[in-house]
């Protein structure tokens, strides 16, 4: 049975220009759908789907996608091996960010996280120092290599949360930079 199914959703894709409208036009049953992306219609057949991912055929071409994370405003996926971040409902972005500026919940990013586990070899700044994006904050040793961890933004070092000789795990907070 055919029925008009979905609402028109507006999306933005990280690192890709433009905004896109996508909508489920018809549910043809048997896991087959007609969807519309901007002004073009596409045939979609779901082969396999669960909360972690989906395999589908879009216009006779096979695709595989994994759903990584899904928040109110963002969806992280891996599509055919390529990681992608989509902004969902991007038409609301302007309104929502009007008073608070910046995007998303994990954002004022005071915390400088470590991307790697390792041992702290040296701490190159002091609390109170002002740093620029890219300045070396500390050096970690991992897999016999020394890796410099750089500041993710301009600011002042508010707090240093590590000690020389200590070990950090992946994603540990190294410092707070305001």
């Amino acid at each position: 049975m055919e029925e008009q199914v979905g609402i028109d959703m507006e999306y933005k894709i990280e690192d890709v220009e433009g905004t896109f409208d996508a909508q489920i036009l018809k549910n043809l049953g048997n896991n087959e759908y007609v969807i519309k992306i901007d002004s073009k219609e596409h045939q979609l057949k779901i082969l396999n789907m669960n909360s972690r991912g989906i395999e589908f055929i879009l216009d006779q071409k096979y695709h595989k996608a994994k759903y990584l994370e899904n928040t109110t405003s963002q969806m992280s996926l891996i599509v055919d091996g390529t990681p992608l971040k989509l902004n969902v409902n991007s038409k609301f972005d302007e309104i929502v960010y009007k008073n608070t500026g910046g995007g998303g919940s994990a954002d004022t990013r005071v915390n400088l996280h470590s991307q790697i586990p390792g041992k702290v070899v040296s701490i190159n700044v002091n609390e109170g120092d002002s740093v620029k994006k890219g300045d070396v904050v500390c050096v970690l040793e991992s897999m016999k290599m020394q890796v410099s961890i750089k500041s993710h933004k301009d600011g002042t070092v508010k707090k240093i949360k590590i000690k020389v000789g200590g070990s950090v795990a992946k994603n540990d907070v190294l410092a707070e930079i305001e």
Partner: protein
Amino acid sequence: MISKVLIANRGEIALRVIRTCKALGIKTVAVYSDEDYNSLHVKQANEAYHIGKAAPKESYLNQEKIMDAILASGADAVHPGYGFLSENSDFAKLCEDNKINFIGPTSESMDLCGDKMRCKSAMLKAKVPTVPGSPDLVKDVEEALNIANKIGYPVLLKSVYGGGGRGIRLVTNDKELREAYETVTGESIAAFGKSAIIVEKFLEKTRHIEYQMVRDKHGNAVHIFERECSIQRRNQKLIEQTPSPAVDQKTRDRIGELVVSAAEAVDYTNLGTAEFLRAENGEFYFIEINARLQVEHPITELVSGLDLVKLQIDIANGEPIPFKQKDLKMNGYAIECRINAEDTFLDFAPSTGPVPEVSIPSGPGIRCDTYLYSGCTVSPFYDSLMAKLCAWGQTFEESRLRMLNALNDFYIQGVETSIPLYKTILKTEEYKKGQLSTDFLKRFGIIDRLTQDIKAEKSEKKESALAAAVIHSEYFKSRVSSSARNSHPWKSKLE
């Protein structure tokens, strides 16, 4: 005759050695640390011995524990792989003393090769040209500064006990040299337990060209062609290929003869690699001998048809090399990409953790040596090399295209990899034309091009991404009907 080999290593090279041993009917013994309980090399060997905690010095670098395992298992030979103890002459000697056949050179020869200064003088005696630099180890940073200023910046600060890119820093002035001196010392001690520094002139736009060197216990020596390994970062090789676009048959033969002389000069036995730097003007300078089987040996195997690990075992058994130099002919072209668990955009910082899914490419001309399998883990304790992806073709273009396709098919979930970087490099005109040099990445702005390529790839996939996103809500709608039909405990609680 060797009947049981203990492989004193882990990861893909352990698997590699096991594979050849199995084909030869030789029994295999694996060793593993706390991190490697679930590794493939442990599962595929005939026997496996637990040798300690994750940290290398507690396990894979621990000679006593490994010797205990050798004796307990009754192995009569040991293959050290690359890295770890493969160039540790103390370990080679320990094996010799215990009458265990060490599949590699003698401890004396290894010692000589490992001591870059002594090796250098041996080469000079054999009339093999070397790179200008400090005549001996530098005593301190002041001496290093003197020599650097004498031969002229830029120079390389190198730890004699280095290899695999560790313990090397490029410096362009006195200030950098002072800073780097500390770092190089530290890295060397961390990885190899010792430190000693030399200064070497840094030649620009050089090509790193090495030769596969073979010498048996009867004094017969041959070379099995060159490999070009110019594309590097931080002095660690990323892509290797053979034949080198900069080497014609005449040069191949000429340098090949130097390689044979070099092997004789240090009384080398078994397989090793003689590394050269080829300057812009075509001059070749000897750098060092790697007294072990190289990471990139598969590409030599692909163009020669030989099994180099088998050759190692045969030589260790005392057999003569079964062919003469004139019998060796190169067939086709081969490229290897080292697939590392690294974040290219974070200065190649290691990326570790579980790998829930991996799909390994295959097909004509494709070979992939790897320890990966869906559900394995990339450990933070060991180096970041996950897989060696090789492609062979009748022509260079064929091997290049096969490699590109294989890179596209290679999917590793859970860690950042260098796969996108290689795709970008292999697509550049410069690579196609063979304009290789050790500063390839910087010279041709590869990282910027990588960023562009990634954006383009995302743009290509946008329709399927949007389709996947918009259909996501369908999943919940289908779950609605099933949960509504389940009986709720709420209804039955009527107190």
